[in-house]
């Protein structure tokens, strides 16, 4: 193997370290009593967490955790059709995630899932974009399908591209493929939820 090839393998490896370090500061663990735990994304820098609706049953007491500390959180809004929930978590803060326009996604590009699969904290998984599915009526991207290994506990966690931009929120596994809610739907959900509260 040539030195330049070794160099690029090393560079790629250190890129991955950087990516996982950035993502570690972006996610929290979301826990609700008996229903186990999922992953959440700190939204907008501080105070808000987005996760899957199925990770936070209605009425259950919620906690978000990071760095070994657990703090109370409360649900602000639900969108069960898109499997999204917005939480108020005053203690949470992290870097701003840029979002990726789903129309610009290309099959085969690298994607990364970050979360706490099966209770294993801060796991990074690499894969590629498999396909997107569209709504028949509007032709808008409805789900993002990724060839990446997910497990329970990844739910609510980020799927990002090679530059760390949010592609979607991991929601489920279908036929071994990861299925994520597109980032633009997440963004719209958060904006609507916040404007409704403000009104």
């Amino acid at each position: 193997m040539s030195t330049s090839m070794l160099g690029s393998a090393r560079a790629m490896s250190s890129n991955l370290n950087g990516l996982s370090e950035m993502l570690r500061r972006t996610v929290v663990e979301v826990r609700s009593g008996a229903s186990g735990s999922g992953t959440g994304i700190i939204w907008g820098g501080a105070g808000l967490v987005v996760t899957n609706a199925h990770c936070v049953p209605r009425g259950a007491a919620l906690e978000v955790g990071g760095d070994g500390k657990w703090r109370e959180a409360a649900t602000l809004a639900y969108h069960p059709q898109h499997d999204l929930a917005l939480l108020a978590a005053p203690s949470a803060s992290g870097p701003l995630l840029e979002t990726r326009d789903p129309e610009s996604l290309r099959a085969g590009e690298l994607v990364f899932a970050y979360g706490h699969p099966l209770g294993v904290h801060d796991s990074l998984a690499m894969g590629v974009l498999h396909a997107v599915t569209r709504e028949e009526r509007t032709n808008r991207v409805r789900w993002i399908i990724a060839d990446v290994r997910l497990a329970p506990g990844n739910s609510g966690g980020p799927l990002v591209d090679a530059e760390g931009r949010l592609v979607g929120i991991n929601s489920m596994v279908v036929n071994g493929l990861g299925v994520a809610v597109p980032a633009n739907l997440v963004q719209r959900f958060v904006e609507r939820a916040l404007s409704q509260r403000a009104a």
Partner: protein, 310 residues
């Protein structure tokens, strides 16, 4: 690529990512969707001008096979031949000329090479990513076809990917993916083997599979027999059945005969007989050395073509 606003630019990773996406796009230009089974379409590759190959088990009709071209146009194809031993089918599709796939040199491929599986299980192209996990030599499919090199994959071959290509990082085709050939384990039939099969399918609609009609099992001969007949070793094949109306029956081979040699090569395993058969040109004879009733005899058999009966 390395100047994203997020400041978390990771140029190597981003470069690899866009290279992989470009490879999928390139490959996708020669992948068609074939709608010839229930539930989900399968994939096909435009291998030559107007000629598409796919996995035979996914194409359940022969005439007016509905096909979606890479550009989204609908057309129909006609099956010109199938080979059940390699599970390949060839379809003629007029109008598919523009999209012939680029083939990669597979000799340089090593364990650990980055590869993508690409399919078109619907309108759009879909991809999965991994590495070559092993390269098998001299593998035989359960229907008896011998394949010189097969690629075992550390990647997922999803529904609708059978018949689609395995591609390298530039999008050039390494072979045809198939999840049925090795009974559920995904594997790839290399481009060279596909070419060989396709040549035969175009020429005669099937792949010639010489057939004599015997079943045999290995036996060890008594030391006295080996010495008496001056044999090279004690391994041989015992005939346990002879098919009715087969070339072996016409040649006077009986159950209980012991095969010692075929065309001068000694036989110790049933696959040795298959190899000997494969080396006989069409219409020519296979010379067998047979031990019967303590005496060595010579028997000549003219194999028939089993492929033609499929």
């Amino acid at each position: 690529m390395s100047t994203s606003k997020s400041g978390k630019a990771s140029s190597t990773l981003a470069d690899l990512s866009s290279q992989l996406a470009a490879a999928v796009e390139t490959a996708g230009n020669s992948i068609v969707a074939i709608h010839a089974r229930r539930r989900i379409p399968s994939s096909g590759i435009v291998w030559r001008d107007g000629m598409v190959v796919s996995a035979s088990h996914t194409v359940k009709m022969d005439e007016k096979v509905p096909v979606t071209l890479p550009g989204g146009e609908s057309t129909v194809g006609t099956v010109i031949g199938r080979d059940s031993a390699t599970d390949l089918v060839a379809l003629r599709i007029d109008g598919a000329k523009a999209y012939v796939a680029a083939k990669a040199e597979t000799d340089a491929l090593k364990v650990g090479s980055l590869v993508l599986a690409v399919g078109r299980p619907g309108r759009d192209v879909a991809a999965s990513f991994g590495i070559i996990s092993a390269i098998g030599k001299g593998w035989r499919t359960w229907q008896g076809a011998r394949i010189d090199r097969v690629f075992r994959l550390d990647l997922a071959v999803y529904d609708g990917f059978s018949g689609g290509p395995l591609v390298d990082a530039s999008g050039a085709v390494l072979g045809v993916n198939n999840s049925a050939l090795a009974r559920g384990t995904p594997m790839t039939l290399p481009a060279l083997a596909v070419d060989r099969v396709l040549d035969e399918l175009i020429e005669r609609g099937h792949v010639r599979r010489p057939f004599v009609g015997v079943a045999a099992q290995p036996v060890a001969l008594a030391a006295s027999l080996v010495k008496q007949h001056e044999l090279s070793d004690d391994a041989a094949l015992l005939i346990v059945s002879v098919a009715d109306g087969s070339p072996a029956e016409s040649a006077g081979i009986f159950v209980g005969d012991v095969l010692l040699e075929a065309n001068g090569k000694s036989l110790s395993r049933p696959t040795d007989l298959l190899d000997a058969l494969a080396s006989v040109p069409g219409g020519e004879q296979l010379r067998l050395k047979v031990l019967r009733g303590g005496a060595v005899k010579s028997v000549s058999v003219t194999p028939s073509d089993r492929g033609a009966r499929q």
